[in-house]
Point group: C3
Chain length 133, copies 3
């Protein structure tokens, strides 16, 4: 391969609970692992309301993107797995607020449940490096 | 990043219902957002049979790919989320008809439900530009 | 596009049951289709315990990666769809054993069911070519 695969690690997002990196980068491409609403200090907060879980999860994704040299404007695709399709509007509203002018490709995928009883998991594919647009 | 991230927008597929682009392109890569069987004019048709929903969803994906300068032959990976794993054979038959000679990588992922009560959602990763094969 | 899209095919993994390639490669990038615990000879083994299903599925993914000129060290992102979130620890343990030092980005996505009654499906995005790290 032209570039090495680089593991991204930051204390600003929760330590991986399993056999994965928070993200890996290969050249300009960044792949962020599925993030749950775990707080950066490792406490779970699975009893938090849906809205709080969305904010924590997006905060984790953005902290990892920043550590990789990317950010909201560098995101190509987001996949959000949510428990309860009725949570779609609440998810979309908070997501829009956090992403602002950036509108990556996105899929919202309802799932029957998530680890620790969480209601949302978010993964992202992004690019990093000097912004040209 | 070497290339700007370009938002793809076409009136030949439904307007995004949330905070996302129909697709984004970065260099030769195109990421198509999860498409539902919404008609291009915005009417829902969630009461249509599964087969009709598959055709409408694939039509949406292909219209967006065309707007991005790609098409069935440029697709690298498709992820199809379906409600009811028993719909797999019907999905595969229509998909084969639509994709023809092209056989991208694919995953079919059963989900408990989808937005508006739809039975299928499809997303794609593709490349665009002059075909060399 | 700068590179042709290449279909990957190997007898060391099960023949696709539908309209998809085992994987496609485009330049250095490899997209492996969602693999189920089907044996390379096509027998199903859907009655096997979860642990056996994980091993068979990972074996299929790795056989396809090898045919594409990649391997565990070349994997960027894995998505594992599992039936029963309570199977997460068992999945992670076998996955860690198989991947060893490699820790790609990963998402584990619970689903209500899978084709043929299987308990796991795994897809991967990887790179191939000479290792530089």
């Amino acid at each position: 391969m032209k570039y090495p695969i680089e593991a991204i690690a930051t204390a600003a997002a929760p330590t991986p609970a399993g056999h994965y990196a928070q993200a890996v980068a290969w050249g300009d491409l960044v792949f962020v692992s599925g993030q749950l609403p775990v707080r950066a200090d490792g406490t779970l907060g699975a009893d938090q309301p849906f809205e709080s879980q969305v904010r924590q999860t997006l905060a984790n994704v953005l902290a990892i993107l920043e550590a990789a040299g990317s950010g909201p404007d560098g995101v190509l695709k987001v996949t959000a797995y949510i428990v309860g399709v009725e949570n779609w509007p609440a998810f979309n509203a908070i997501y829009a607020e956090v992403f602002g002018a950036a509108r990556p490709a996105r899929a919202v995928v309802p799932v029957p449940s998530l680890h620790h009883g969480y209601l949302i998991e978010i993964e992202a594919t992004a690019v990093r490096g000097a912004q040209t647009s």
